[in-house]
């Protein structure tokens, strides 16, 4: 993916701190394209970089996390 978006762009990934995560599940609601919930309500995040057109959704999911467990990382 790198290089497709033009100069200065870096692919981002969602990363969950499993110790902080309490399984509220808002992230899966806000970003179902990449996040689903397991049998106990904890997020399973697809292991692939997030394309630019979905980055806003990813950011919204991270911002909505009540325990600040979800972050966007380059």
């Amino acid at each position: 993916m790198r290089g497709l978006h033009g100069k200065g762009d870096v692919d981002v990934r969602l990363r969950c701190n499993p110790i902080e995560c309490d399984g509220h599940g808002l992230c899966a609601e806000l970003f179902p394209e990449r996040i689903r919930l397991d049998d106990w309500g904890y997020p399973v995040i697809a292991d692939e970089p997030i394309p630019r057109d979905l980055e806003q959704h990813a950011r919204r999911a991270a911002d909505a996390c009540p325990t600040l467990a979800l972050s966007l990382e380059p």
Partner: protein
């Protein structure tokens, strides 16, 4: 380097001289291995290069390249600290305890050499508080201190004896006065560990190998083993009745040769567990072909881990053994990460119920799915290890598990436990 030592490239290396009794005094240690190189004889950059040339990997279980870890710590900001990890929390492993008990100076030499190489002045030897090796280690340190032997300061740290307490970040957390629980990375301990300083955590066997590499060089080290994985490693072979023995083998050794050395009759075993509680079950049929190297083991989805090889007798019940270990692992979850807390207890309970004959064969489908789903979703490898262990048991002993689900416990289910 003496001629006699330079000439001897064969095995045993780490275990050299042990046949005549433990090497607990400096005198015996030096008689067998010769003196440790001085800072003049081996400068700091040189040791890291040597270790890189040996392709040395950590022996705690994760097999991470040692030189890369050393370089990361040396490059981080602040004076680093070295932690020698001798906690050995894998219940089936016995090699680290053997090293601390019978070859303490080999471990301490390695620790001094590595501390010098990364610029650390403080070395913390982490052992279980219950370990009888503690007193022996203190005695070895006193002997070295009396002779002003080391240019670094040593301290012994007695940690918790729980299963996850030996995990790298859990060891650092305890030394910092915190709970014996893993922490989420980043920040990596190589950047911010003990006292917020860059911290290098190395298994005690890894340090013992370094003590010999520093003495004899990489050509000597690489003269045995396979091309990609030179050198030797310690393995703990667990046999019928739970008897454990430690062997030193060259990488690439055939599994059946190791079993023969441990006097295991391959015709009388029903399965092999490689890597301990976080390991992989394999059918006995592989023993004749399999060579013990990371590369070859990866092809059958296994790894040597911390070197445990358990040979389950055909008379034992693999289902009962797996159910007991998975219950133990579920009970040892740190309780911090949702997928581990819920996943490991769900796996253990469902597996137990199905194996008792009260959940049907379809229950194994749930267990299989959960073992995959919890992979890599904890702060430490606990859920990943449990998932691998149970998943491989379901693959290897599919027929046995289904028989139990249909007909309930077998005659061997109540036999004395071997793995727990």
């Amino acid at each position: 380097m003496t001629q006699a030592l330079a000439a001897k490239t064969a095995l045993p290396r780490l275990l050299e001289g042990l046949a005549d009794g433990p090497l607990v005094t400096l005198e015996r240690h030096h008689a067998v291995h010769g003196p440790m190189p001085s800072p003049q004889e081996l400068d700091r950059a040189e040791l890291v290069e040597l270790i890189a040339d040996c392709a040395l990997r950590g022996r705690g279980g994760a097999a991470f390249p040692v030189a890369r870890k050393m370089r990361a710590v040396a490059a981080a900001r602040g004076r680093p600290i070295l932690v020698a990890n001798g906690c050995e929390s894998e219940p089936l492993s016995g090699k680290d305890a053997l090293l601390l008990r019978e070859l303490p100076h080999l471990v301490l030499d390695g620790a001094t050499l590595v501390a010098r190489a990364i610029g650390a002045q403080r070395v913390i030897l982490a052992v279980k508080h219950s370990a009888p090796e503690r007193a022996l280690l203190e005695r070895a340190l006193a002997e070295r201190a009396a002779r002003a032997f080391d240019d670094v300061s040593f301290e012994v740290f007695a940690g918790a004896a729980t299963f996850i307490a030996g995990q790298e970040t859990a060891v650092v957390s305890q030394i910092n006065g915190g709970p014996a629980l893993p922490t989420f990375q980043p920040p990596r301990v190589s950047e911010r560990g003990v006292g917020r300083r860059p911290t290098l955590v190395q298994n005690v066997e890894t340090l013992a190998h370094i003590a010999l590499i520093a003495r004899h060089g990489s050509d000597w080290h690489n003269a045995i083993g396979s091309t990609n994985e030179p050198g030797s490693t310690l393995v703990t072979v667990v046999c019928a009745g739970g008897t454990r023995s430690v062997f030193e083998i060259a990488y690439g050794t055939r599994l059946d040769d190791v079993l023969a050395a441990a006097r295991v009759d391959t015709a009388a075993i029903g399965g092999l567990l490689l890597g301990g509680y976080f390991g992989t079950w394999l059918p006995t049929s592989v023993a004749g072909e399999l060579r013990l190297s990371h590369e070859e083991l990866r092809r059958c989805d296994a790894s040597l881990g911390c070197g445990v090889i358990a040979a389950l007798p055909a008379s034992a019940c693999p289902v009962a053994e797996t159910v007991r270990v998975s219950a133990y692992l579920a009970s040892q979850s740190a309780g911090q990460c949702g997928p581990c807390v819920h996943g490991s207890s769900a796996i253990a309970r469902r597996l137990e119920a199905a194996s008792r004959g009260s959940a049907g064969t379809l229950a194994f489908e749930d267990v299989r799915r959960w073992t995959l789903e919890i992979q890599d979703r904890g702060a430490c490898h606990h859920p990943t290890g449990l998932g691998r262990f149970v998943g491989s048991a379901l693959r290897t002993f599919r027929r046995e598990f289904e028989d139990h689900a249909r007909h309930g416990p077998c005659a061997a289910c109540t036999a004395k436990a071997m793995l727990t």
